[in-house]
Symmetry: C2
Subunit: 383 residues, 2 copies
């Protein structure tokens, strides 16, 4: 049976036709005026999306590379780093810091829950010597479908001087984040989520406090050195050869975000999340995250009793062409994750729900056909 | 709100990414060996799709041009032609014949119903002098969503010597048609329906009886002259410059049909039609064609009492990004037509039904949300 693929994973996400078209252009000189004009425009666009006046640095890299850049540009071996972790990606941020010699202390929360600001405040209150140099936060924990309340966590920090480093890889441009207004020192994202690009670009924005830290930071770096990027940025360039096609695509994706309006993009992600969750609940499925912490970018659904998550993924993919993500680490095979970040429309949610109905029915679950779609339609019509 | 466009009209239909990619190649010499090799392969592929051993002639033209070619290559001014018409496209075929001086007699059937073989048999029985030179049939009447039973109509012809000319523009490669086995003399189709291409190519297959008729046909022709096409085809070429990009796309589309299997393509169209109709009926909507004549390519739905067809189309398109077709001529504003021909999957049917639910609700119709999707899911899971 002919299938039309739907890629409903939390990255890489569907790339709009417009962006693909923009990428399909001949190479240009990355040291010439045409590139410079485009890259300056992109840099301004990135600032709007990060909601910052600081420069946003572009690295040819995966999001994980940009996380590493955030660490090595602001910290020194031996620094005490408090890692607020709510899942796989919080753990990874901590692991990078540890690998470069930071002394990492973890403030962990159960997978499927958001970080509690009170717990952070309590830990920092005990740090009377102000030994903690940085706090690592995850805006959207992709492994559990939880969005952490960054604003509340920063408030909980109070006047503690630790830097705030935020992994916003799966969040930025999907979930509101106000780098300057909220006082975030470093914010990191990647291309392949809400920026609607293929993977291959990482972004790091650093405010003045972060640049001050950079001047003292002793972790070794060459490729990730923010100073080199910033210097080139002044000339509308990159220090090392950029992936020109992705830069073409980024220019177009930022135009699309501007046209839709960033606040409208956020509202869309919330509406689609609400519709999807209503549909899943109408089918009696259990969601890993509660409504309070529910991510506008990815939704984790517990595999029904006695059913393997991978069996659902396989049925969705092979029989109906819908690709979902599975669980990671201790959640492997226990959940399925539905990505709805970036170039996602109401029709994608309706397709996913109606096909999930069919897949679960085929796998023997008693499903009320149509119930999930009805619940989603009701939410979508209000939106 | 971000919309992803779904083009659910009976042509031009959605073009698969693979075909678009294939078309996106540099021009080649249409008189060179690379073109010849490709065009010979295409010609064999077209024969398989037409289910004929006769040559299939390719014209750079709209489907209507190919209908004209069918007429002018087989008929002479003054010839008596019996046009079996079940809608707009049956009428058009007749009009072309008339414009070139044929004496056209219409055998008309109510719009929304298939042609009755008995009526054809009865008319031919009265033609004791065998004056009727050709019978014009429409395989799939796109304006009403009716598929005529070509095999039964040909049987009804019995041993009457009239040529059978079949407009299969919206049917070929979607609905089974066996040119040789059923004894069809001329079969016509276009690129932009089940062949999954952008518009711009028309096809005419002529059997030996049709070529005999060609040798006597007096209607004036140059561009449409089948003899010129056939002569060039012997060299793997076209007499006049072909639209090379469309030919690249055709090569790829025929590969896709071969990979899926032509019989599977037919089965898919039937399954999707059945699912769509079940969903529409579950919502209490009235369908123009009965189950017996229902087209696997396009479904016409009566606009609910007091509602304009165009209002439904507008709501579907502007609010939800789904483009449907409207009614033509006397059905204008009275029906909406949902195209499901060519590159169409189960997900397209589910999207169309769930969005139609929402559009009709917004237009004030009491809709049982989820009911249409449930009915379609039940059919799709059996398929």
């Amino acid at each position: 049976m002919l299938l039309k693929p739907y890629l409903m994973i939390p990255g890489p996400t569907a790339v709009p036709e417009r962006v693909l078209q923009a990428m399909h252009r001949p190479m240009i000189n990355h040291r010439g005026p045409q590139y410079e004009e485009m890259f300056r425009r992109i840099s301004e666009g990135l600032k709007r999306v990060f909601k910052t006046q600081s420069d946003v640095l572009t690295f040819p890299a995966a999001g994980t590379g940009a996380l590493e850049a955030a660490i090595v540009n602001t910290l020194s071996p031996g620094d005490l780093v408090l890692s607020v972790s709510t899942g796989v990606f919080g753990d990874r941020f901590a692991e990078i810091a540890g690998r470069f010699g930071a002394q990492v202390e973890k403030l962990e929360f159960p997978w499927g829950e958001g970080a509690q600001p009170e717990a952070l405040a309590e830990r920092l209150a005990r740090d009377s010597e102000r030994a903690i140099k940085a706090i690592l936060l995850t805006h959207n924990e992709t492994s559990t479908g939880v969005t952490n309340n960054i604003q509340a966590l920063v408030k909980a920090k109070g006047d503690h001087p630790a830097l705030i480093l935020v992994d916003a890889v799966s969040a930025l441009a999907a979930i509101n984040l106000e780098m300057d207004a909220w006082g975030l020192d470093v914010v990191v994202t990647g291309a392949q989520k809400a920026l609607m690009l293929p993977p291959g670009l990482g972004f790091v924005a650093m405010n003045e406090r972060a640049w001050e830290a950079h001047s003292r930071a002793k972790m070794p770096k060459f490729y990730w050195d923010a100073q080199a990027i910033k210097k080139s940025l002044g000339k509308g360039q990159n220090p090392y050869t950029p992936p020109v096609s992705l830069i073409f695509g980024l220019d177009e994706a930022l135009k699309m975000i501007d046209e839709e309006g960033l606040e409208n993009v956020f509202a869309r992600h919330c509406l689609l999340r609400d519709a999807l969750r209503a549909g899943l609940k109408a089918q009696g499925l259990k969601l890993l995250a509660g409504d309070e912490d529910a991510s506008p970018a990815v939704t984790a659904v517990l595999a029904p009793e006695g059913m393997e998550g991978k069996a659902i993924q396989k049925m969705m993919r092979e029989t109906y062409g819908i690709t979902l993500a599975g669980g990671q680490k201790k959640l492997e095979n226990k959940i399925i994750r539905i990505g709805h970040v970036g170039y996602v429309a109401a029709t994608d949610v309706l397709v996913t729900l109606s096909i999930l109905d069919m897949a679960l029915t085929k796998l023997g679950l008693p499903i009320k056909l149509g119930a999930s779609v009805k619940a989603a339609q009701e939410i979508l019509m209000e939106g």
